[in-house]
Each structure stands twice: as structure tokens, then as C-alpha cells.
């Protein structure tokens, strides 16, 4: 919506629908998506093409389609008096049992733009693109979701912006993958957590300019797995190996998640 405003494109409304599918292959991505974007407004073919490119190169879309993330992994111990480097050396003796993460259930994600949340300054300039209501549903072994969340840009800031939400998903995916891949016996009794520290990402205006121009704006972040206590032997090596199996890490680093895309007029 921000690109349409800056390009004076008469986009009145937009809907985005994703079908999520499990995909088997040699890499750890494990899933793919089919995207349908429905544009409402009196748009020319050229304007539709510009919006299609903007959607492809939007900050989060770039992660999925272009692999626009440079991710540095760190594994640290928080045991008192035990330096992380010493922990790492000590831990490379044995490797805990490594399991394959579970495949992602099929489902759908639907984004509905809340046009009334768009905000303008007193001089009529767009200040915030507004918020999006997102519906999520997936195959479940007990019952089907669904879940609803809000994300986007607003001055009140009640909802998370898209890029931090994508980073949060990566952190959560990392925890899930480590739980599934590393034997429970290998973890310190007090457990672990994962931190994300993004840096050098540029401003929202810069990101939207990249989207409009169809250029890649690489996102950089440090991902830390913090162990609460002294790790068992081989745990650090096992964690490093498990991180290579995380579906979102692979997706954000390598792209290629998009299985199909349709742009339709509403």
C-alpha cells in the first residue's frame, strides 16, 4: 500500500491469500507457498506489474523468495564461571542424537487490509500504511485452528510491524527445531532460549524504496542460542547441526519458497 501511495497508483484495497504446502526435497526448507494477490482499483497493466514487483520485493517477501537474510549463529552458555568458548570446546566431544524436524502441516494464511487504519498527516501526506488482519489455519491432529492476528504500521503501535514479526517467527521456529532435533537428555536442566539481534536493516522508507525498485535489501541478524547452565558434552555441536535443519532459516537464507503466484483484479 505504501508503494502504491508513493507511485500515485489508485490502489483502493488489497487481499493476499497464501496456500501453505509441505514440500519434500534435498534441502531443509520443507514447505512452499502459493500466493494470490487481489488488487482493487482502476489499475492499468503497468500499475499492476509495478505492484506485483513490489509484492515480490517487499521486505518479508524478499526473505522467502530471494533468500535476503545474512544470519550469523552463536551458541553460548550462561553457566557461572564458564566461558562460552570453553563450553564449546568441552562440548565437541560427543554429539547428541539428531532427529529430523517434523514436516509442516498444510494450511492457509489470508491477509485482509484494514483501510480505515491508514493514517495521514495534517498536510495530507501518508504517515502510516495501516494494519492488516491475518487469518491462519492449518491441518491439526485435534481440531483446526484458526488463529487471527494483527500486524502492520500505525502511530499507536498496537501491533507488530511485519519485519520484526518475521524475525520472531524465525526465533520461534529455531526453538521448535532444536526441541525436535536435539535429544531432550542433552539439554541443561534449566533449559535454553533463543535471541535475535537484527542490525543494519535500514528504515521502512528505504525498504519500500527497494521494493518499488525491485532491488534486494539484505537483512542481517545475529541469532544466539543461550544455554541456561553447563551444556552436556557435544551439545553445541549438536545445536549447530540442528540449526541447519530449521525450515525458516533455510527459507530466509536461500529463498525459493514461492511455488506459484497469481495477481488478479478485484
Amino acid at each position: 500500500m505504501g508503494v502504491a501511495y508513493r507511485g500515485q497508483i489508485p490502489l483502493q484495497d488489497i487481499r493476499v491469500d497464501f496456500q501453505v504446502e509441505a514440500v519434500t526435497g534435498p534441502d531443509a526448507r520443507g514447505f512452499g507457498v502459493r500466493k494470490t494477490v487481489t488488487l482493487h482499483g482502476p489499475l492499468s497493466d503497468t500499475q499492476q506489474l509495478r505492484l506485483r514487483r513490489a509484492a515480490e520485493y517487499c521486505p518479508v517477501g524478499q526473505l522467502f523468495t530471494k533468500g535476503a537474510m545474512a544470519l550469523e549463529d552463536q551458541v553460548t552458555g550462561s553457566a557461572e564461571g564458564t566461558a562460552p568458548a570453553a563450553v564449546a570446546r568441552m562440548s565437541r566431544v560427543l554429539q547428541p542424537a539428531l532427529h529430523t524436524p517434523k514436516s509442516l502441516p498444510a494450511g492457509a494464511v489470508h491477509g485482509r487490509y484494514l483501510a480505515e487504519t491508514k493514517e495521514y498527516a495534517d498536510n495530507g501526506v501518508l504517515q502510516h500504511e495501516g494494519e492488516v488482519k491475518v487469518y491462519l489455519t492449518c491441518e491439526n491432529l485435534t481440531r483446526t485452528g484458526p488463529w487471527t492476528l494483527l500486524a502492520g504500521h500505525s502511530s499507536e503501535g498496537w501491533v507488530p510491524p511485519p519485519v520484526p514479526l518475521a524475525y520472531a517467527a524465525l526465533a520461534a521456529s529455531t526453538v521448535t527445531t532444536l526441541q525436535q532435533c536435539v535429544s531432550p537428555d542433552a539439554w541443561p536442566v534449566a533449559g535454553f532460549h533463543v535471541e535475535m539481534a537484527p542490525y543494519g536493516g535500514g528504515s521502512r522508507d528505504q525498504a519500500q524504496a527497494s521494493a518499488a525498485a525491485g532491488t534486494i535489501n539484505t537483512r542481517r541478524a545475529v541469532r544466539r542460542v543461550v544455554l541456561h547452565g553447563a551444556p552436556s558434552a557435544g551439545l553445541v555441536q549438536g545445536i549447530e547441526a540442528a540449526l541447519q535443519h530449521d525450515p525458516l532459516s533455510t527459507s530466509f537464507r536461500a529463498g525459493g519458497v514461492l511455488l506459484g503466484e497469481h495477481i488478479v483484479g478485484g
Binding site: 522467502f64 491441518e139 514479526l165 520472531a168 539481534a197
Partner: protein, 71 residues
């Protein structure tokens, strides 16, 4: 090391954590997104995976990322 590389290393070393994810009971994950300057927050979300013996308390993490794409 080039000036750009040195700046990149400095940016990386000064990067502060803004997101924390931790496992919670039952295998779900609680993630907290810290606010950036000018934002409110923090925001919290729960993700989970399908299990035969209990309901999911949140969507899978990959779905949260697709939701970010949708937004």
C-alpha cells in the same frame, strides 16, 4: 579489512537482542518482540506444532512468518 567490512563488524557487535523465544510447557514456544525506537510493544506470540494428545495453542512458527509476509 575494508571500511565497509569494519562498519559491518561494528554494527554486528553492537547489535542488541530485540526478540527472545523460549520453550514453554507442552512443547509450545513463547516469543516476545521488543519495540524499536518510536514503537510501543513489546508484543508477544505463541507458536506450536500439531500433537495427537493436545490442541495447538498457536500456529506453527512458519505460519507466523507467512502472516508477516501477508501484512
Amino acid at each position: 579489512m575494508s571500511e565497509a567490512a569494519m562498519q559491518g563488524a561494528a554494527d554486528r557487535d553492537s547489535a542488541l537482542r530485540s526478540i527472545i523465544a523460549r520453550p514453554i510447557a507442552g512443547g509450545a514456544v513463547h516469543t516476545i518482540i521488543g519495540p524499536e525506537p518510536g514503537q510501543r510493544g513489546p508484543w508477544s506470540c505463541i507458536t506450536d506444532t500439531p500433537r495427537p494428545s493436545q490442541d495447538m495453542v498457536g500456529p506453527p512458527a512458519a505460519y507466523l512468518a507467512v502472516a508477516a509476509w501477508a501484512a
